[in-house]
Subunit: 332 residues, 2 copies
């Protein structure tokens, strides 16, 4: 069982998860997985994963067998566990919490060699639908305070398997990064009486310089203060606090903008490793109507080194305006 520990200075929580290993020898450089290695996410291997939590599948088929399009299963090596009681206590001068939460995997397709860029558009829409379903279901668990959906693509972005998948981790406390955004949003409203994300959408849509692509409902752009080369954000154009509130007729336009964004990235940089995360309003706390959900897409092109770790300052060698230009110019 893992535990959560709080840094007494800045209040950051850390999941200390001893089941995942930890001896010095565990950190010897990993040899890349051979391309023909056994893949538990492929069609036909449904019994090699933990049981299905949810799936889009042929109505005539049985759970944990073939005939599916998207499957959601528990992570085999979960960082947090759904079973148990949420205890909060002191250890000496420090604070701990039991490692309660959820850790799920979205197996995005039965096909091993697909990617977000090459899936049919309706398949990406179904993935967005499944994200929304899992958020709606998990928020019923009153112990959970925040749910992060994220995707690690490529070994150096932290993916241990190549088969297309994304993940979800639900935590029993609101993460620091989210508290900072909520706080920033509140301070902006106090000062300007407007949503900072809505202001960004308006500025980017008007000046076009940093726009990667857009449609009626969504906009994708390289943020003005991008931390990383080719970092991109996707926002709903209309103010919307939670991803779970996305309407049925917005799923297709969202999938379209997400897919075009990743396609442009893949074409510009030859399928680079990347992470994406969905930032949405916390669950089981007062609904934060001021928040504005969004995707952050982070290509992993540069090393984060001492200066970044030491300060939280980033050095970005590619001005976002130039990155957006490269991304727009690529032929799809």
């Amino acid at each position: 069982m893992s535990e959560l520990r709080r840094d007494p200075i800045v209040g950051r929580w850390v999941i200390v998860s001893s089941e995942r290993g930890g001896r010095p020898t565990d950190f010897e450089p990993a040899t890349p997985r051979p391309p023909d290695a056994f893949c538990p996410f492929c069609a036909g291997n449904e019994d090699k994963t933990p049981p299905e939590i949810r799936a889009i599948r042929d109505p005539a088929s049985q759970p944990d067998t073939g005939g599916w399009k998207i499957r959601v299963v528990s992570n085999k090596f979960p960082a947090l566990n759904i079973e148990g009681e949420l205890n909060k206590r002191a250890r000496g001068i420090y604070d701990i919490m039991s490692g309660i939460g959820a850790h799920e995997v979205f197996i995005e397709t039965p096909e091993h060699d697909r990617t977000i860029s090459t899936l049919p558009p309706d398949h990406v829409r179904d993935l967005m639908w499944m994200y929304r379903e899992r958020l709606r279901d998990l928020e019923k668990d009153r112990r959970l305070k925040f749910i992060l959906i994220f995707r690690n693509s490529g070994q150096s972005a932290g993916a241990s398997l190549r088969h297309p998948h994304s993940q979800l981790i639900a935590t029993p406390t609101i993460p620091k990064r989210i508290l900072e955004e909520l706080d920033g949003v509140r301070r902006y409203i106090d000062f300007k009486d407007r949503c900072v994300f809505c202001d960004m959408v308006d500025e980017e849509h008007t000046f076009k310089q940093r726009v990667v692509c857009e449609n009626e409902h969504f906009i994708s752009f390289t943020p003005f203060a991008a931390r990383f080369p080719f970092e991109m954000w996707i926002l709903p154009k209309e103010h919307q606090p939670c991803f779970k509130s996305i309407k049925d007729d917005q799923l297709e336009p969202l999938a379209a903008v997400l897919q075009e964004t990743i396609k442009r990235l893949d074409k510009s940089l030859d399928f680079p490793p990347y992470n994406y995360v969905i930032h949405t309003s916390p669950v089981n706390s007062e609904i934060n109507y001021n928040y504005h959900w969004h995707f952050e897409i982070i290509p992993r092109l540069t090393h984060v080194a001492g200066f970044e770790w030491g300060t939280g300052f980033y050095i970005n060698p590619t001005p976002p305006e130039r990155a957006a230009e490269f991304l727009r110019e690529v032929e799809l």
Copy 2:
């Protein structure tokens, strides 16, 4: 000339430095530098670096020639520039600042194949002395607000050259991470009327579980809420806000604890890539007597992935108590 841009939501600053490249082709995987490649930091190549700012050298020798022990030079590709005026202005709804600051390199020894673990103890003491000297000199520049000294060791920790070196970046604004620590320190004092770092020193020294090594003046331990496997902090046992205030007779004990800490890391994990940073009180602002300077040493053993980027939460597979045990047990 680089520029500083502010994220309008969380207030994080980013250095956008277009001179350092940025085309998609710049991000093709780097081939490791061959071991016999030309090294500008080696003895005999003093004219291949920018001119010496400061050095410990034979009094009979000339600057930028042989006969030195430690040299400090400007970074050839600086993230920030010392020349120019500090302008702050708006760009649309966003905020920018000119890229004023300092970016220096400490060439730690003329010998290419040394490391912190294998340098003579008095050499490491001289390096600590030089760190203090540069802090004391640079804080006279009223435009600067914070000075970070850091070390990237190993390619995946961001070091582009193997020759032992550390760096310094001085910024015209106090970085977010430091503001968070100052804020945390203040809140702890409001609540407990004690310094949180002093409390940690006391707790760790008393219970020993997480101590790596210590002497009369300094303690090295794996922090309770370590973000990374084998993360270690070094703190002065007595409350001391600024690294620049370190006394002459503390330089040797500091060097001893730092060197033993890195030696234990190098022995346990076979010279892993790592970063270290020195967190010290900001300069040219009201002196923050509540702050407590320290080293943070971050071995680069695991990938930071979507969950960490998305939340600021970390997953650490090695309990700090276990890491400390491994580190203590290794034979030096």
